[in-house]
């Protein structure tokens, strides 16, 4: 009921309401829990329970720090940033390294990455997804992170800059280098086929 009533309100407007009354915070939870869960899956290899725990902690942090949200930022960039930091904290806690970039079959990732990399050949989707998971894990972490945000989360340069807290020029460089590395690996794979 509450969700439908406020579905036209922007995140920033809902944030203001949530500061006045906690019940409105559920609207933000509803809007973001699936997106953030997917994002956590893409940048980590935690099991389901751990991911859910991280997600809960993310929303607690978002709520507690609502007053620090700067309206000059997009709300989504801010929550993605908190999520990323929470995942990193958990890597440290469990002394793990990020490994798996999860790509769902329903993701439009293949189309996007093909356009992004200017790949001309049509490649078998099933094999490509498995292979892409593998090579995405092979490329430099900082490039991988940017490529995930660009091609899986469909964030623009400004948003990626705000999520990772790096200048836009650096985002562009990482995307370009990541694409180059990815393209080289794909082409190498294509030659071997």
């Amino acid at each position: 009921m509450l969700i439908k009533e406020f579905e036209n309100k922007s995140d920033e407007e809902v944030t203001k309401l949530a500061l006045e009354d906690q019940k409105y915070f559920i609207i933000l939870v509803k809007r973001y829990q699936e997106k953030l869960y997917r994002y956590i899956s893409r940048i980590s290899n935690f099991n389901e329970q751990e991911k859910e725990d991280i997600l809960q902690d993310v929303f607690v942090k978002v709520y507690v720090n609502l007053n620090s949200f700067n309206p000059n930022l997009k709300f989504s960039s801010w929550v993605y940033r908190i999520t990323r930091n929470e995942v990193i904290n958990n890597f440290r806690k469990f002394q793990r390294r990020p490994q798996i970039a999860r790509i769902d079959p329903e993701d439009d990732f293949m189309t996007r990455i093909r356009c992004g990399l200017d790949l001309e050949r049509e490649i078998d989707n099933k094999l490509d997804i498995d292979y892409l998971k593998e090579i995405l894990n092979e490329i430099n972490d900082k490039y991988k992170e940017v490529l995930i945000l660009k091609f899986l989360e469909e964030k623009d340069y400004r948003e990626i800059s705000d999520i990772l807290k790096i200048p836009m020029g650096t985002v562009a460089t990482y995307i370009s280098r990541g694409k180059k590395e990815l393209r080289q690996k794909i082409e190498k794979y294509e030659k071997l086929r």
Binding site: F25, E52, V64, N65, N72, T170
Partner: protein, 229 residues
Amino acid sequence: MKNLDKQILDKIKDLKPKAKWKFLIKNYLIWSFAILFLIFSSFACALFLYLLINNDWEYSKIIAGSFWEFWVASFPHIWFIFTITFLLLSYFIFKHTERGYRFSRKNVMILNIAIIFFLAFIFCSFGLGRVVDNIDLEQSKVFNQRKVIWLNPEKGFLAGEVIEKQDDFLELLDFEGKFWTIDIRKAHVTPYTEEGVKILGTKIEEDIFEAKEILPWSRVFLFEKDFLK
């Protein structure tokens, strides 16, 4: 994935968002430190420039034997290190401001360096560089080697404050607090506007020095002259 609405609401039920003023204070503190370190850096840079501009390059061979030895002995390393250290501190703190990450390292550094030089120039122009001459002799070995270099009457270098001036003699109080009578009959005297002078010459007796060249201790920087009046 489970629907986590309920768990999340349970978790935040007894919590309240942190007050806005706490975040504001944090932001102001970060900005204050970034600006403070920028001013410290400018101040260190002003002293560095003051010492560099007043360094006695023209007497380098007489003082140290060679230009490079003079450079090593008289270069104001400590103020250079302070300038760089405070610059880096200011940069790192600026990067932790709310939107500091949006700017590239190169742009922030160029802007910081431009501000530091501008402020250092202003500080120097208002005579701030001269505070380094008030540092006592023991500490001058680190902070103002120039004073130590010019406290060497055996080698023919002497500097200090002119206490009294007569036609043929000067009464001088050197940096160690020792009184000297300076014979200026054969000296070439460059007009000096303040009491501080440096003298090239020969030590005749324990407290008598024959001057060949008398120069002002430091050069006057831009509108410093008017300001000091």
